[in-house]
C-alpha cells in the first residue's frame, strides 16, 4: 500500500528529507517503522517514539490504510 511519511528533527536529518511517499507491505506503523529504520539507519528505537496517523496520535499496532499519513514522533523538546 502507499503511505505518506513525514520526518521531523533527528529523523529528518537521518532520512535527508522532510517527507516521502512509500509503497510498503507493512500493515501497521510498527512494521512500517522497521522497514524505514533499516532503509535510513534511524537510531531511535520504537520505545523512544510515538506514532501519529493522519494527524492524531495512534497505537503502533493500528492498521494502516491506503494513503495514510504516518509520522514517527521523536522525543519532543518544545518550550
Amino acid at each position: 500500500m502507499n503511505y505518506r511519511v513525514l520526518y521531523f528533527a533527528s529523523l529528518r536529518d537521518r532520512a535527508g528529507m522532510d517527507a516521502e511517499q512509500i509503497n510498503s507491505l507493512a500493515t501497521d506503523a510498527r512494521g512500517l517503522y522497521h522497514e524505514l529504520r533499516a532503509r535510513h539507519g534511524f537510531t531511535l528505537g520504537e520505545e523512544r517514539l510515538r506514532v501519529a496517523i493522519n494527524g492524531a496520535f495512534a497505537p503502533w499496532g493500528q492498521t494502516l490504510h491506503e494513503g495514510d499519513e504516518v509520522v514517527f514522533i521523536p522525543p519532543v523538546s518544545g518550550g
Binding site: A9, R12, T43, V71, P75, S77, G78, G79
Partner: protein, 147 residues
C-alpha cells in the same frame, strides 16, 4: 479563537494577557520561556523550532482544555514560536486567569509542563563551537553521538 497557537511571528505577550481579562478574574499567572545563552554547559547562539503543525495545534488545544477541566480558571492561552530564535527571544507564552491565584498558578504550570512533554515541537540548538543538535525533553541531546 484558538487557545493554542503555533506562531512564526513574534509573540505579543501584552495583547495576549489583555485577552485573559474578565471582571470575575482576580488572578493571572503567566509563564514565558526565553531562549537562554547556555544549555548543559554549552554556549548557545540561537535555536530553531521545528513542529508537526496540525498535531501540535490539536495537542496544544487538548492540553489547555484539560487545564480548564482540572482547575477553576476563567481563561487560558498558550502560544509557541516556530522558526529561528535568538538569545532572549520569547519562545513560549502561557497565561491563565482565575478567580483565585492557586488555580491560576497550577493551571499555568500544568500547561507548560504538558506542552513540553507532549506537543510535537523540537528544538535544534546551535552552539558556539559550530555544532548543533536536536534536544530531548530533558534538554540532553537526542543522539549520544551528537556531542
Amino acid at each position: 479563537m484558538p487557545k493554542f497557537e503555533l506562531s512564526e511571528r513574534e509573540i505579543d505577550a501584552q495583547a495576549l494577557a489583555r485577552g485573559l481579562a474578565h471582571a470575575r478574574a482576580g488572578a493571572c499567572a503567566t509563564f514565558e520561556g526565553w531562549v537562554r545563552d547556555h544549555n548543559e554547559g554549552r554556549a548557545v547562539l540561537r535555536l530553531d523550532y521545528q513542529a508537526y503543525a496540525p498535531l501540535a495545534q490539536s495537542e496544544g488545544e487538548r492540553i489547555v482544555e484539560e487545564a480548564r477541566e482540572k482547575f477553576a480558571i476563567v481563561e487560558a492561552r498558550c502560544v509557541h514560536r516556530a522558526g529561528t530564535l535568538a538569545i532572549g527571544d520569547l519562545a513560549v507564552w502561557v497565561g491563565v486567569s482565575a478567580a483565585h491565584r492557586g488555580a491560576a498558578f497550577e493551571a499555568c504550570r500544568y500547561i507548560i509542563d504538558e506542552v513540553k512533554k507532549r506537543v510535537p515541537i523540537w528544538k535544534n540548538e546551535h552552539y558556539a563551537d559550530g555544532e548543533s543538535g536536536w534536544l530531548h525533553p530533558d534538554n540532553t541531546p537526542v543522539e549520544p553521538g551528537q556531542r
